[in-house]
């Protein structure tokens, strides 16, 4: 790579740069670390598998991965993601074990690497990780060599959430894509505008959707106050080949163009150091029935949960007919079954099948 440097001196010279790293690690093919790692073809397949597994006879389904082992490693409180992954795994017949930071050796100071290696030694073949530190799933994958499914890392990524959000949107927009019968392309969501509202800065849900939806042609609009939505957020869209990412500070202007909304929780625990007035926030960014009816009567309303009624949205909106919030929860389970199935399929493809099942597995 050759580029010209510009500085204060009059001299301009050609300076070649050491190449930026091209992904130094090879990821486990069964891992789900970031939505960036999934091709559109893979996502189409996942949607298809989610559809098939959802409709399958539960007794048949429970034979698919009977008595395989999976670890749920949770360093943060979580209700829907944890139960959703747990039921998804159990639905496929998997034995799961839950390790949380509040009732384990993690409390005694054990490192993530050692906890991961311990789970592996117990016979766990894949790990679902929720962690408050961005990048933790990369570390866990690197040191265990196991497929790791990222159930949310810091402010960074939450791929299963973005995939279930996509499934939810497609259920309303395009049934053939919802079932995975039609291939996803860079045109699938062309002309579709999705607005993410609120605390973009601290949101892994926002980042995951920003990395996924524009690849299907969607326009992602971000709205929120500067404290929670810094200008730099638009740089997430600078290398896009389709779709776009832009900021619109005025919520009502953003609403007028929106086909769907993702309302983010106001994470009051993160506001401590910020100069943010909650009343002012509600005045400018709360989704009320009146606002919805006036500016975006047809828009779908999504929320990753947990919702705080009366803060980012009113109770009437949460329970109203635009709301897809419970539908999202419902869609999460089949998507996570498909992700878990994919992890074990990758494991099996990597190793010779044994006659005696799991006892011979590493």
């Amino acid at each position: 790579m050759i580029m010209t440097t510009q500085a204060n001196s009059s001299a301009r010279r050609k300076v070649s740069l050491p190449a930026a790293p091209t992904l130094p690690f090879t990821h486990h093919p069964g891992s789900a670390l970031s939505v960036e790692h999934f091709s559109l073809a893979e996502i189409t397949h996942l949607l298809h598998r989610a559809h098939v597994l959802e409709r399958e006879n539960p007794l048949m389904r429970a034979n698919r991965l009977a008595r395989r082992r999976l670890g749920l490693l949770f360093y943060e409180a979580s209700t829907r993601t944890r139960t959703s992954f747990e039921l998804a795994a159990k639905g496929l017949g998997i034995d799961t074990t839950l390790v949380s930071n509040l009732s384990s050796s993690i409390e005694k100071g054990e490192s993530l690497k050692d906890t991961g290696l311990t789970l592996k030694a117990i016979g766990v073949e894949a790990i679902i990780l929720r962690h408050n530190s961005s990048g933790a799933p990369w570390l866990l994958e690197q040191f265990t060599g196991l497929p790791v499914l990222n159930a949310g890392d810091g402010w960074h990524q939450h791929p299963s959430q973005a995939l279930l959000d996509l499934r939810t949107l497609l259920g309303h927009v395009s049934p053939r894509h919802f079932t995975g019968d039609a291939e996803l392309t860079a045109e699938t969501l062309k002309g579709y505008t999705l607005t993410i509202v609120g605390d973009i800065l601290h949101s892994r849900v926002a980042r995951s959707n920003m990395l996924l939806l524009p690849r299907l042609g969607a326009e992602v609009v971000l709205t929120g106050p500067p404290e929670l939505l810094p200008e730099i957020a638009v740089t997430m869209g600078r290398d896009l080949k389709s779709g776009g990412i832009r900021i619109e500070r005025n919520f009502e202007t953003a609403l007028e163009k929106s086909d769907a909304l993702i309302m983010l929780r106001v994470q009051t625990e993160r506001l401590a150091g910020l100069d943010l007035d909650l009343e002012e926030y509600k005045k400018n960014y709360q989704l009320t029935e009146e606002r919805l009816a006036k500016y975006a009567p047809k828009a779908l309303v999504l929320h990753p949960g947990p919702i705080i009624r009366g803060l980012e949205l009113t109770s009437a909106v949460a329970d109203g007919e635009n709301s897809c919030i419970l539908e999202q929860v419902h869609n999460g389970l089949p998507i996570r079954m498909a992700l878990v199935e994919r992890a074990y399929a990758a494991l099996d493809a990597l190793e010779m099948p044994t006659l005696f099942g799991q006892e011979n597995r590493r």
Partner: protein, 433 residues
Amino acid sequence: MKTILIHGGRLLDPAAGVDAAKDLLLKDGRVAEIAGPGKIKNTGDAEVIDAKGLVVTPGLVDIHVHFREPGQAHKETIASGSAAAAAGGFTAVAMMPNTAPVNDSPEITRGMQAAERGARVRVFPIGAATRGVKGEAINDYAALKAAGVVAVSDDGLPILKESTMREALASAARHGLTVIQHAEDTNMTAGGSMNAGPVAFRLGLRGMPAEAESQLVERDIRLVGELNDLRPHYHVAHTSTAAAIVAIRKARRNGMRVTCEVAPHHFLLTDEHVAEFNTNAKMCPPLRSAADRDAIVEALMDGVVDSIATDHAPHAAHEKEVEFERAPNGITGLETSLGLSLEWLHHQWKLPLGRVLSLMSAQPAALLNLKGRGTLAVGSFADVLIFDPNAEWKYDAAKTLSKSRNTPFDGWTMRGKVHWTISEGKVAFKAEA
């Protein structure tokens, strides 16, 4: 001590203005004689080093290293760190005071220089600028200097408080010492683990803004101006931002004694190299934007930068094998500094060899007033590096002489192979044949 005769080499001594085929005789730890090829006769007892095809130059000087002794011998000791220094071509290093305990007393300063430490090359302690590096009360610089410190710094931490910095600059000036600032306004960087910018946003990591460095440098330069009568010497450690370079350039144009160093990782890498949470690309100041990096390269080329320094900061593997935000700052650098500087500054970007060597030896030696070092003029210390400037090799961190391997340069192509490092007349490193 054996007498050493180096013959057949090309003597390149930028400080003395020499670049010619010369033989050297090293005796009693000093350069005893320099003469044309074959002109020095071996009286019989000298060890003869054949330097044919090699460059003979003053041993390298690194004014910014962290050898974790006392206190954290599992990361590095003075013996292991100085062995890595010798392997990298260094004959003198200045050691930062953030050990445990902190080096804020003459006893610790003397302890670091004691023979029992087993230093392979010369180690010069830098004293803590403030008591316990707490940034409040300044230390007794006269006593520290008498014990051997060559500069004062709170490195690892900034001297943030304006009144403290003013006092440190004034007191250091009175005692002929340099104040080395780790320029980071920690009010702006709290919780940050990489450069603030698009990459940090994308990775969901709290950023450390470039202004945290440049604004403190600007503040300090204002203080240097206010203390102009005392002619304080202010030195910016590991300069990493374009804005800090602008401020330093301006101060120098105004005739102030303001100097700076840059580290190889800051002239080669950008925040993109953090890639997928590589903790060996985490240090403080962090890898910056491409624009910052370009400004650093430009400043090296046009002479605003006085020195290349590694900020060699060893950490054990288990300390780096943690979540990115929890990993300690710092990378090792002594064994890769010459190889990277020659490959990129000299071979790729065409900075003359003498300029590169000067940035790594004569200039840093002058900066900390290390008399008789950074040159091979007759009478100076017999600190010699003999190397092949063109040999290409790959760095293998597994073979390091340091106790730690936390480098982002593992497997990188280097240029310039060290054959001998001689420290005060003793062979400190010799390459395997």
